[in-house]
């Protein structure tokens, strides 16, 4: 009776240097103890300079390779069909200067866009009219509406994003986190397709 080996590819892994990728780096293995060790330490791929920073390893190639070495074993794949390896040579924190620059960019940018928006929708006029409607007095600068409005603006954004610096209001993921996740998924999906040689017709021999 053949022993069945269950393989579960890891979706994403990050490496900080060029190394020989072993099976245990890219997949979880479930089988009898004696073969597990040897399988896990099997070299699958040698990352070289020309791989740039993304390598996709398809489960098909892994199984093909393993099958050649262990014809007596039967391989079953569960979970993702490929692994994305990202090579991060310099994984150090971005400089404070860069973050400060982006911070200022966003701060000034949003301040300007909100002012342009207020002009665009003639908010001053609407607020003047509301002020007259409510109080019966004309007031060119209805600050009693405008100042709470300004602070409310910030509160609404925080409410939407569910964050106050590092503190969160409840356990649910915020739309921002969902958006980041979806963007990462989309990128992975693209990479799966375009960096995988099996999907490229020119490489079919």
């Amino acid at each position: 009776m053949t022993t069945i080996v269950y393989l579960r590819m890891k979706k994403n892994i990050e490496l900080s240097y060029l190394k020989a990728v072993k099976l245990k780096d890219i997949a979880l293995v479930a089988t009898s103890e004696d073969v597990k060790k040897t399988l896990e330490n099997t070299s699958i791929y040698q990352i070289s300079k020309k791989d740039n920073n993304i390598v996709v390893i398809d489960s098909f190639l892994v199984i093909k390779h393993l099958n050649k070495m262990h014809p007596d074993l039967e391989f079953q794949l569960v979970g993702p069909t490929q692994t994305i390896i990202r090579i991060n040579k310099n994984n150090k924190a971005p400089s404070v200067l860069k973050v400060a620059f982006v911070w200022l960019l966003l701060f000034i940018g949003t301040a300007m866009t909100i002012m342009n928006f207020h002009y665009d929708v003639s908010m001053q006029e609407v607020q003047q009219k509301i002020h007259y409607l409510f109080t019966g007095e004309q007031n060119e600068f209805p600050l009693w509406i405008q100042i709470p409005y300004s602070f409310g603006l910030g509160m609404g954004m925080l409410l939407f994003f569910n964050h106050w610096f590092k503190k969160r209001f409840n356990e649910e993921p915020s739309p921002l986190e969902v958006e980041l996740f979806n963007y990462q998924q989309d990128l992975d999906h693209y990479i799966h397709h375009h960096e995988n040689r099996l999907n490229d017709n020119q490489h079919h021999h």
Binding site: W103, L106, F107, T110, M115, H118, F134, L159
Partner: protein, 142 residues
């Protein structure tokens, strides 16, 4: 006499058609930005989602009335404070949702690699909005 009736009917149709288009567009816009689902999620009030829809409708009609009417009420400044505050929170959510839709954050963090400072950058946007708004009303327009 006849012409004035025709003109009135034409105006009626134009008004109704315009209202339909604007109303449909407005609701589509609010829905697209996902502010209502977000509020339902935060307030855990799934049961009242229809009530929220009715609120949007009632608010739109009240707003329409307020923009065309010429009456005044003698209300206190406290009402103005509350009104302004609510307007601000709603607009803040609107602005946040727009940033969201435009995918500014994911691209920014990916390109520049400032992922771990994401929340600080979010605060930059929040404070930028507050600062810009206050600056405009207190200094810029005077």
């Amino acid at each position: 006499m006849i012409t004035s009736i025709i003109i009135n009917i034409a105006e009626l149709i134009i008004g109704l058609a315009g209202g339909l288009a604007v109303g449909g567009g407005f609701v589509a816009f609010i829905t697209l930005l996902g502010i209502i689902p977000r509020l339902v999620q935060i307030s855990k009030a799934d049961k009242f989602i229809h009530a929220f829809g009715t609120c949007v409708l009632a608010g739109s009609i009240l707003g329409t009335y307020l923009s065309f009417t010429d009456i005044t009420w003698n209300l206190s400044t406290i009402i103005l404070l509350i009104w302004g505050g609510f307007h601000g929170v709603f607009n803040g959510m609107l602005a946040a949702a727009l940033t969201e839709v435009l995918n500014v954050f994911p691209v920014l963090t990916k390109r520049i690699g400032v992922q771990r400072y994401l929340l600080w950058l979010l605060m930059a946007i929040v404070f930028g909005k507050i600062f810009g708004s206050l600056f405009q009303w207190l200094i810029f327009v005077k």
